[in-house]
Assembly symmetry: C2
Homo-oligomer: 328 residues x 2
């Protein structure tokens, strides 16, 4: 900026006025400044922008895995809201690693993002307090913050799972399995709670071999499901705790002679064209992203007071796999 | 930083040494600086980093749609390479709009990204020349740059489509349809070229009603496919030009009584569990992202000379739908 000012023979303030399209500069002067800018290849940078508005018009989004279709939809919704507010988006995948979550969050803060949308991997977010105090608007989504009070947008995970399990019970099942993600993950724990509640509501005594929590790799889900389907009290139905589990379960069940009922948590593309079509409890992934981002910008606009917790409903979509009766 | 220096009673250089973990500071002084930093909530920001390394350790990724599974995989691969180089990722969806692509690219440059990975929406990238001259490393991926010489990583789109169409011809088809994306998109044009070449190689005269190029919305693909499947010379097989087209084609074909052969360009989750399982020409989406990002960091390391063009092969995966013989 100094070089531009020197070359155009004007003060720094005049250059700033031209760059920011503010009034008070004659057309002649503006043209001279523009010529100097063009000649020097001047690019308005972060520092100039910071001085002007104290905002960087950027938002950091931390999620589990950008390649997961659920998070890809959520990200796109956050991006669309950010765009409507003229903000750019940093994205980063925590890969379910709390240390990586913290590294990403603090790296985004070091770039002076105006706000953060975080799908937390960890359960202690006190490290964020200095950033929030410094003015970084922060909204958690999909899972709540740990040990701090912060805005959060969730799905009704327990209620959705309860509805899915009750649906299987209504179709005659009693030996119902549940395969969930790692128990430290809020959504996984909530869905397990919903499963237990629905079973308890129906007076069914849950056997320990009917549910399993852990990483949702295909290898593990295959092994766990094979074990649930064997033994003296095999399950006749399965509630798959997320889209990764469902995809593997569809694969395993398609290779077995006896039909096993299946309800998946999370909808997925082409679920309706599989044989049988897959009944799901659908989350609103774009809705989660959109609501969280809108909450973030309301906070940045100074329109938020206190912290908010929003819970979006999950919706049971019967398609066939969840309506299979128990095999005798 | 000045406030920290004043509070700790040291010079700016000493604060800088402590922040950047450089030698030449006594433990006592370092502790005093750290206390001042903690007291003031000092956060190392872009400007300090810029002064230090002239790098921002950030990369901008512009693609068509973050929610598309193909681009979601590509993004994750770019993120992984960026992470290995200590860099953060800005992401943005152009939604196939050249003006939006340019806005995103220039906004990322205004944040002083070190480099750009671009899936171009437009066909004229001369607007990028001043940025590239200013030192922004730039690699195009999936589609080449327009009107400038730049690094690019592509799939062998024409070759892959040729192999897919030849496969259908080998299974007895002659009336083969092709539905592609908008003809201005490089990959769409290349795949159409592959289709034409394979048909010409087999001595088949392509009828104008057998191919269609345009937006890949479900509505349009449904209408176009219905028209190809009717009339005096209906197609008996289809090459679907990308994963969006394939998904709609699977849906349309599953509702028809007569079997129609299908080969899709791009693999997709659960393709092998559909009935019939879907034969595809698979691209290596993570490979495209990884190769482009590696090329970018080689350039940033000063190890690149001239510009490079890398073409990754596409791979035919026969699964069933592409091996259906023509209905008589």
């Amino acid at each position: 900026m100094k070089d531009v000012a020197a070359r155009a023979g004007v003060g720094l303030k005049t250059v700033s006025r031209v760059v920011n399209e503010e009034p008070g500069v004659t057309p002649d002067t503006a043209a001279r400044v523009q010529a100097a800018i063009d000649a020097l290849g001047f690019r308005r940078n972060d520092s100039a922008r910071l001085l002007r508005t104290r905002r960087t018009a950027s938002v950091g989004l931390v999620l589990e895995d950008l390649a997961d279709p659920f998070y890809a939809s959520l990200s796109r919704a956050v991006e669309d809201v950010a765009r409507a507010h003229g903000a750019l988006l940093f994205t980063g995948s925590s890969t379910e690693n709390p240390r990586r979550e913290q590294e990403l969050v603090l790296a985004f803060c070091a770039r002076r993002v105006d706000g953060l949308v975080v799908v937390p991997a960890g359960d202690d977010h006190r490290y964020l307090v200095p950033e929030i105090d410094a003015g970084v608007a922060t909204v958690f989504v999909d899972r709540p913050a740990g040990r701090i009070d912060a805005d959060v947008v969730l799905t009704d995970n327990a209620g959705g799972t309860r509805a899915g399990v009750a649906h299987l019970i209504a179709h005659g099942h009693r030996r119902i399995g549940f395969i969930g993600d790692q128990p430290g993950i809020h959504t996984a724990a909530e869905r397990l709670r919903g499963y237990r509640e629905a079973m308890a509501d129906a007076g069914i005594d849950v056997r320990p071999q009917w549910y399993a929590m852990g990483p949702t790799t295909p290898q593990r889900v295959q092994a766990v499901l094979a074990s649930m389907l064997s033994g003296p009290e095999p399950v006749t139905a399965l509630l798959a705790g997320n889209n990764r589990v469902t995809v593997t379960a569809v694969r395993v069940l398609s290779g077995r002679p006896e039909p096993v009922a299946l309800v998946g948590f999370d909808d997925f593309e082409l679920a309706d064209l599989l044989d049988p079509p897959v009944t799901v409890v659908a989350q609103d992934a774009p809705g989660l992203g959109r609501t969280a981002a809108q909450m973030l910008f309301r906070r940045l606009d100074g329109a938020a007071t206190g912290t908010s917790r929003v819970e979006l409903p999950a919706r049971l979509i019967p398609r066939g796999s969840g309506e299979i009766p128990p095999s005798s």
